[in-house]
Amino acid sequence: MADETPDTPDTPDASADDAVTDASAVAVEEVPAIDPAVAALFERFEAALGDGVVDHADSFGTLVVRVKPDAWKRAAEVARADLDCDYLSFISGIDWMPAPKPAGDEGGDTSAPVQPDTMTFGVTGSDGRLQVFAHVQSTTRHWGVTIKTDVADPAPTVDSWVSVYPGADWHERECWEMYGVDFSGHPKIRHLYLPGEFEGNPLRKDFALLAREVKPWPGLVDVEPMPGDDTEEGDS
């Protein structure tokens, strides 16, 4: 099992700048001990995609590659054609912004875990707040690769994968609904889960859960004692 890579204390902006100037060189230099199988897989990927690659890492035996936004669709084609990744696992997004309201203060939400206040990014870093990532796998070679790309913040947009993986349709609709990321080339982006009149992008960190605002857990109501035995409050 590979060890995790919590080092990379440098600011994400700097590394991103480097990546833009000389992507492949930086990527190869930065990599610490990496599983040889994952490394070999990455070499195939890089050979096909060329300078679209920004960064890569081995996260617990899974290859994670960050590509430039304009290489996003090409990455899918490369994965499908050159890596035999015929299977689309998922496409989703991630919002690296810290939660807007740190928990535990002023009688607020005490149950939610306290997340760091600063913006940090995952294993391959990020340019900004929003990222789109996907996982594709090969049913014959039994390997998989996670592909990430950065999207702009105010008007996030990225190429659609539908022409490469038809299954991307629903995943992209979900991502659009949850993060507001638009997929250009998608046949018709529309709501998937939520009613048509729903406003907001629930999975963005700045989307507050109304119920928690109104009545923070464990709530200000008196908890009535149960009849019979007095059990301890749920501790898990």
Binding site: E4, F60, P113, G144, G167, Y193
Partner: protein, 392 residues
């Protein structure tokens, strides 16, 4: 229930537009008709809504409307601690709750760099396979109901109850065990459980034979399922169809064997069943064989169950170090995966839940084009989805 006027949804407008150029049935064109199946329709076991455009009895286009069961797991997970999340994710695929917990707990363990002791791994494997049996067994009966045979569905419920008994006596939870702990299990198996499990497995095997007699060998069942809803393997994979649905299309891929090693599967001897047809019948057949295979695996596991502790050393307050991990397992419905992003807190920063049914169902618009209305039901039944697993 059957109206187009239910507020709160969006339907593909192409469905309602004039499809003059794409008439499927050229023999008896009698004008198209929009039919709404659901959101609560007997066939969709759960709350899938299917808007189909019909020409006579033939489907011209179909648009599944999902989200009636969307409960926002991914958002809620960001507000829960790791132990709390296992409670929550039990309810994604509510038929195989235990199997839902495994990949998540496994992911958290990987991030923390601990490993559950072997006995815990084996018991986890046993319970995963039991929940696989409980899930698929319901399908074996329900599939009969979809094509109109009443009785097998009741048999499915009858024998499934035995498996639930086992799960309940081991975990204390009949439905949602919440038995996994990060680093092991809550408890060891109770006394006498193993013998009980063996007898139950015999009954399950006999039940499988019953299903084989009543349905698989039945001409009407074959006529209703053979050649209906064929998923080409390659297309299925591109849609992300997984599990038995993909194996029935001839793709020999099972994460228990081919994925990153997890639980006790590397030490087991089992066969991955595939079928070359890719139709509804193949899906039924593969699942039937998988149930038998699961029974075989449970017996093997019972035979070789190692002794030892069931819990690793774990800090009292679980804080998971910073990192990202992708864990995937072969669940009864297909590939279930969690992409966990941690920032060192007591709860995850982001959890992407990859559930099997979501992708399995996303192929429906393609699959339903040009079939008859009754086949819609057969196909949906044979894909076997759980609404919670689609909508999350």
């Amino acid at each position: 229930m059957t109206s187009t006027e239910t507020p709160g949804f969006e339907v593909d407008p192409a469905l309602y537009s004039n499809l003059a150029g794409s008439q499927v049935n050229v023999e008896l064109d009698t004008g198209d008709m929009i039919l709404n199946l659901g959101p609560q329709h007997p066939a969709t076991h759960g709350t899938l809504r299917l808007v189909v455009r019909l020409d006579g009895e033939r489907v011209v286009a179909a648009d599944p409307v999902i989200g009636y069961m969307h409960r926002g797991y991914e958002k809620l997970s960001e507000f829960r601690t790791y132990p709390q999340i296992t409670t929550l994710i039990n309810r994604i695929d509510w038929l195989s709750s235990f199997a839902n917990e495994v990949p998540f707990v496994h992911g958290a363990e990987q991030l923390m760099g601990i490993e559950a002791p072997p006995r815990a791994q084996w018991i986890r494997t046993i319970l995963t396979e039991l929940s696989r049996i409980a899930t698929i067994y319901l399908f074996l009966g329900e599939m009969g109901l979809q094509v109109g045979a009443l009785t097998p569905a009741f048999w499915g419920f009858r024998d499934r109850e035995l498996v639930l008994n086992l799960i309940e006596s081991a975990t204390g939870g009949r439905f949602h065990p919440n038995f996994n702990r990060i680093g092991g299990l809550k408890d060891d198996l109770p006394w006498g459980w193993i013998a009980e499990c063996r007898t139950t497995m015999d009954k399950i095997l006999r039940g499988c034979d019953d299903f084989e007699d009543v349905l698989v060998g039945n001409e009407i069942f074959e006529a209703r399922t053979r050649g209906i809803g064929i998923i080409p393997g390659e297309l299925g994979a591109a849609y992300g169809v997984s599990g038995a649905n993909l194996r029935a299309s001839g793709i020999d891929w099972d994460l228990r064997r081919d994925g990153k090693p997890y639980l006790a599967y590397p030490e087991l001897d089992f066969k991955v069943w595939t079928h070359s047809d890719g139709d509804s019948f193949a899906r039924y057949w593969v699942r039937l064989q998988e149930t038998r295979e699961a029974v075989r695996m449970v017996i093997q596991l019972l035979d070789g169950l190692p002794a030892g502790p069931i819990m690793a050393k774990v800090p009292r307050i679980i804080k998971v170090p910073e990192g990202e991990v992708w864990v995937e397992t072969e669940n009864p419905l297909g590939q279930m995966g969690y992409y966990i992003v941690s920032k060192g807190a007591t709860g995850p920063f982001r959890v992407k839940i990859r559930s099997a049914s979501f992708s399995n169902v996303s192929i429906l618009p393609w699959l339903l084009r040009g079939v008859y209305v009754p086949d819609v039901i057969t196909i949906m039944g044979s894909l076997y989805f759980i609404l919670g697993d689609i909508d999350r």
